[in-house]
Symmetry: C2
Subunit: 331 residues, 2 copies
Amino acid sequence: VADAVEVAFHRAVLRLLDGRGTVLVAVSGGGDSVALLHLLTRLSPKLRPRLVVAHLDHGLRRAASADRRFVERLSASLDLAVQAASQDVREARRKDESLEEAARRVRRAFLLTAARKAGADAIATGHTQDDQAETILMRLARGAGPAALAAMQPAGPGPFIKPLLGLERAALRAWLKKRGLAFRDDPSNESLAYDRNRVRRLVIPVLAKALNPASARHLVEAASRLREDAMFLDAQAQGLFAVMTGRRGDALKLDATALAALPHPLAARVARIALTSAGCDPRRISTRHVDAVVALASAKPGSSLDLPGRMVLSRREVLLEFRPCVFPRRS
Amino acid sequence: VADAVEVAFHRAVLRLLDGRGTVLVAVSGGGDSVALLHLLTRLSPKLRPRLVVAHLDHGLRRAASADRRFVERLSASLDLAVQAASQDVREARRKDESLEEAARRVRRAFLLTAARKAGADAIATGHTQDDQAETILMRLARGAGPAALAAMQPAGPGPFIKPLLGLERAALRAWLKKRGLAFRDDPSNESLAYDRNRVRRLVIPVLAKALNPASARHLVEAASRLREDAMFLDAQAQGLFAVMTGRRGDALKLDATALAALPHPLAARVARIALTSAGCDPRRISTRHVDAVVALASAKPGSSLDLPGRMVLSRREVLLEFRPCVFPRRS
């Protein structure tokens, strides 16, 4: 009887591996990437591309050399070449980056270089459905907008592919156990992404156990549906903004009557685009500012409003006028 | 210096209590409802309505009589009348209800009766922002659609008001501690809603600690924005469906060219409405069915598709035709 994980993996890689001669496999030594490597090696000779293993030590974990030895031994046992490297992410970190962002950048650069050396036309990483759900929850909890709901895609950007994206971490762990395959405990991320690890160990498993084993899948599906709605309305709002606005010198003028007539999901979006176009820093535009702009469209002529970035919004006869503040504000 | 919780509460009740003579306060004895009761009693005489306490023992918890004694003593100390009752929710449970649904129905009926007896024109419950976020997460994890994102409203349905809906549980707990006010540990829900309690104890606190203290608020805000988008598109789709369809006898006919020309968020919605209108059981309509209907709108005439509820969908020259299956299917 075919194993469910192997069947699902087979279906996923059919499309992803189509025509790929050599695939570089990013292996940290943790359960996800080790499962990915074993699943790839077990594909039928016809499907199976040439495989090269890549392993990066981020310099963030005490057990890093043991992780590297584990990946090297595993690759040797599978008769695969390994490209391993060490790079201190703390040292490589730029001023405007979090440690996690720096690690992502360094890892990406390493994998792209390793792929070039190996002559690989794809780079496979071990992202699972749980990673997707975690990312979505974390972004929502941090207060990001609909862009937070962007799901990872199994193919891209560039040569990157994520063959495990439709599989659950628990199913992969059960598969490793069933096949008697060893992996390192949580290796790459321990000290790197403490927050994500807490979400990983607690949030998704609790939702899965308490509510529904398919919680991760449901979250990913809902996010993708909701994001599609949001992006569609964003595009409509861009079109409306284009026909509702004009510029004269420093001032941006917006048709107040038309804005007041729009249903709220579109009015709020047009107001946000107008605030950004007028020169307000997008990071400083809050829902409160957006709603104030929409409200001003129905206010009486002569009303005005201070906006972030030293901008003033005034209600004229039939227009809203955004312009830079002329007089220095008293603070 | 005014306390932040008291200020936020005061702002919330200004609107909610406007014109209410007598308010029935639902008090389980747990931290949320005890904080609600104390905050209400501490309002200025001008704002403060007459208060009557209501307490229901669901018959689900061993410590229930201690909870009831606690609420009775607390009410006596505040010089308030109590209406307490016991009702065995397990016994009252109907076949088609979960224990949680039965408890909600029984509690609601009890509170409405108690309000009538007390001559109350509002019923205040202790739902917090955390309850909102928990409900949204639980529904998303269970696989509900955009309706899952429906946020509770501070006023309604009927006489119910939720004055704590903008406040965080942690802030309320800190306030109780600061004021030296006692409450019972997790009284009403212990055995009643085991799942919700696991989400409550683990999920929201983990998100708050690991990511952002305002996680609950961010989740609620994102949900409300996304739901607004979804409901707006639902309404557009209803309008489109009305002009794109016709009936002849048992058959529902849908303009295939028009459906194929719609952007996916609207096409999927119109297809779902069509499936429901044609008589398919909404609970059995999956994303797969919806996408199959949309795909058939671009397929060549003569193609057809079996649907749940013994319905058949056929692609005619310019129409999609939904009709009941005529021949018995071989199974």
